[in-house]
Amino acid sequence: MYRYVLKRLAQYVPVLIGVSVIAFLLVHVLSGDPVRTMLGTGATEEQVEHVRTQLGLNAPLHVRYLSWLAGVLGGDFGRSIMSGESVSSLILTTLPRTLWLAFGAAVLSIGIGIPAGVVSAVHRYSKWDYGATLLAFGGISIPNFFLGIVLILLFAEHLAWLPSGGYVSPLADPVEGFRRLILPWIALGTALASIVMRMMRSSLLEVMNDQYIETATAKGLTRDLIRNKHAIANALIPTVTIVGLNVGYLLGGAIVIEEIFAIPGFGQLTLNAVLNRDFVVLQGVLLVTAFLFTSVNFIVDLVYAYLDPRITYE
């Protein structure tokens, strides 16, 4: 296990370095002159030069990258061009809300997707299976922003059961905090739930054809025991991979969902940075998101190793 963790870490570090290079280059090279873009065409030469010096943009590229990276490693992501606030404090304020949103959506999609996939596989070709499969196709085909709007239209405007948005910390007011996030969770989690359901269904069906299931039958175990103890543990292995690969989808989706439900989270920070061309914030946001995504995948790999005892020794 220990060696496996080290091996995985060794694969992630280069990706993290690559991520930082991309975040840096995206802003500093592709955008041409970020200061001009930022200040607009009306700015005088003097103003531009002033901001350039202020941001340290006159140094050679690799020097700028290294000093930026050094700052980032020390927790200093710079200051927002728009508001002048420290990017790290902006991230620290908004990120927990988004993590809470994404976590809830992930729990929801696993909690619904896996049991639905199991039921579908066990009662293959039944009306439950057809129903769940159709719903899952719908779930991966509906854009999350459209689903969010329909949910608001239905449950907030029409039925008035739930608030249409806003954020209340679950620590301050647990009940209200929950109520406000129910619709966002559903809007964000539906697609992932559908993906998980389809993966669980197909991998369970595949596992049921494996030789050790025949062994278990020949041993006289009950169907329930064969399914719950022998089959599901094996079928979860590929499903977990799919969940890990789609965490990025949750983080990206949060941008849209937070916009619709007016949640002042990391997604809103991202969107505002993009819309305002606030490249200092955008750099930080890109880096943190990629770091999060990569780390979650690292954790998923550990779960994977827990589920599949073979992995440690390969």
Binding site: V118, D210, Q211, Y212, E214, T215, A216, T217, A218, K219, G220, L221, T222, R223, D224, L225, R227, N228, K229, H230, I232, A233, N234, L236, I237, L307, D308, P309, R310, Y313
Partner: protein, 407 residues
């Protein structure tokens, strides 16, 4: 291990039955699979008897229907298979049982081991768990049944590795079995996963699992085919030892005549879904009657090299278009016109019987047909009725005892 009376309870209670009555009798078994291209008959008209404690070897090339026959006994074939005939196990009609009634028999009174033990063991459960759950499933040890923790998918994922140890009695028996089948350091290895075992050790673990409830019948489906020759010998010895110790009957399936010669008391030879010859091992090896059996024996290299090595040419016919008549006739060196029309019934034979010679039609030399309780029988026209050889195929039907054309 034998000190515990509850383990042996099955064996003892069954011993009251009369010894002449077979433990397992399969009569006229046919298995059909539904496929996209219509039904396929995998095996037809199979008769098998296994007595208590004996080893019956079931031999044939791949595709001959050995595995289908074996799986029919435990009803392991999927729902696309339809079974016809009778399978009686110690007065119980296995084909009449439903799932729930079969369960106390599977793994308890009849158990099975497979060719690829690596695939037959669950990769995510410890080997000890897989053995001990069988014991807990079938043996009524107070407080040690299958627990709710493993019945529930969620909790079953969160059990610690050494979890089955809490069932002291069944765990002690598991360790004892590991020791008995020759797995070193059983206390440690019981907590390991199948991928940490070598091929031979996995098969030993399978054997421990299969014999954990002292079954009356063990079905061994090519248990040594995937193993090295040196390891094979150890596994064969182990099966024989435990069989003697537990009084278990064994249905041993293999394509290897050498293995059959070593383990089997009696032999059933299958070809293309049919039984072509059956007899006591020794007699069958020394006096094979069916040309297919002869061919199989010829293809076994012997140590002194005196026997000619004469591999069979051609392949087992495709089950979807088997020829009418004897399924072997296309590859048979002795085939004649009579083989086309029908597949003959089983004729009892004696060691000294000679096949009919078909030198001149009409004046064929044919031995007296024998049906006097010999336990060596073959389904070949050369040992059958005179008329069969004297008439053109298709005209002979009226004079045969069991008219039976292949569909």
């Amino acid at each position: 291990m034998t000190a515990d009376p509850s383990i042996t309870s099955n064996g003892e209670s069954e011993a009251k039955h009369s010894p002449s009555e077979p433990l397992l009798s399969v009569d006229g078994l046919s298995v059909q699979f539904q496929s996209l291209d219509g039904p396929i008959e995998a095996v037809s008209d199979i008769d098998i008897r296994i007595n208590r404690g004996e080893t019956l070897g079931l031999v044939g090339e791949s595709g001959s229907g050995k595995s289908v026959t074996a799986r029919s006994i435990l009803r392991l074939l999927d729902s696309s298979a339809s079974l016809d005939g009778r399978i009686h196990f110690d007065d119980t009609d296995l084909l009449a049982l439903d799932e729930a009634e079969l369960r106390p028999i599977r793994g308890n009174r009849i158990s099975m081991i497979f060719q690829d033990a690596g695939a037959a063991l669950n990769p995510v459960l410890t080997v000890g768990d897989q053995v001990s759950e069988t014991i807990r499933m079938h043996q009524d040890i107070p407080g040690e049944g299958i627990s709710g923790v493993e019945r529930n998918a969620l909790t079953s994922l969160l059990r610690p590795t050494d979890w089955p140890k809490r069932f002291e009695e069944s765990w002690a028996r598991t360790i004892e079995l590991f020791d008995r089948v020759g797995i070193p350091e059983p206390d440690r290895r019981a907590f390991e996963y199948p991928h940490e075992y070598s091929g031979g050790m996995r098969q030993r673990a399978m054997i421990a699992m299969a014999l954990s409830c002292r079954p009356e019948l063990l079905i061994a489906d090519e248990p040594t085919t995937a193993l090295d020759v040196t390891i094979e010998a150890g596994i064969l010895d182990l099966i024989e030892e435990l069989q003697a110790e537990f009084g278990t009957a064994v249905l041993f399936i293999t394509h290897d005549m050498g293995v059959i010669n070593e383990v089997a008391d009696r032999v059933v030879v299958m070809y293309a879904g049919r039984i072509v010859e059956t007899g006591p091992t020794r007699e069958l090896f020394e006096h094979p009657k069916h040309p297919y059996t002869e061919a199989l024996l010829d293809s076994v290299p012997t140590l002194d090299g005196t026997e000619s090595l004469d591999p069979l040419s051609g392949n087992v016919p495709d089950p979807q278009n088997r020829p009418s008549g004897c399924p072997f006739r296309d590859r048979c060196p002795e085939a004649n016109a009579a083989c086309d029309g029908r597949f003959p019934p089983a004729y009892g034979v004696h060691p000294e019987d000679e096949p009919a010679t078909v030198s001149e039609r009409g004046s064929t030399t044919v031995p007296e047909p024998r049906r006097d309780g010999s336990d060596h029988a073959t389904r070949c026209v050369l040992y059958g009725d005179v008329d069969v050889l004297q008439h053109e195929p298709g005209l002979s039907g009226s004079s045969t005892a069991e008219p039976e054309g292949d569909k």
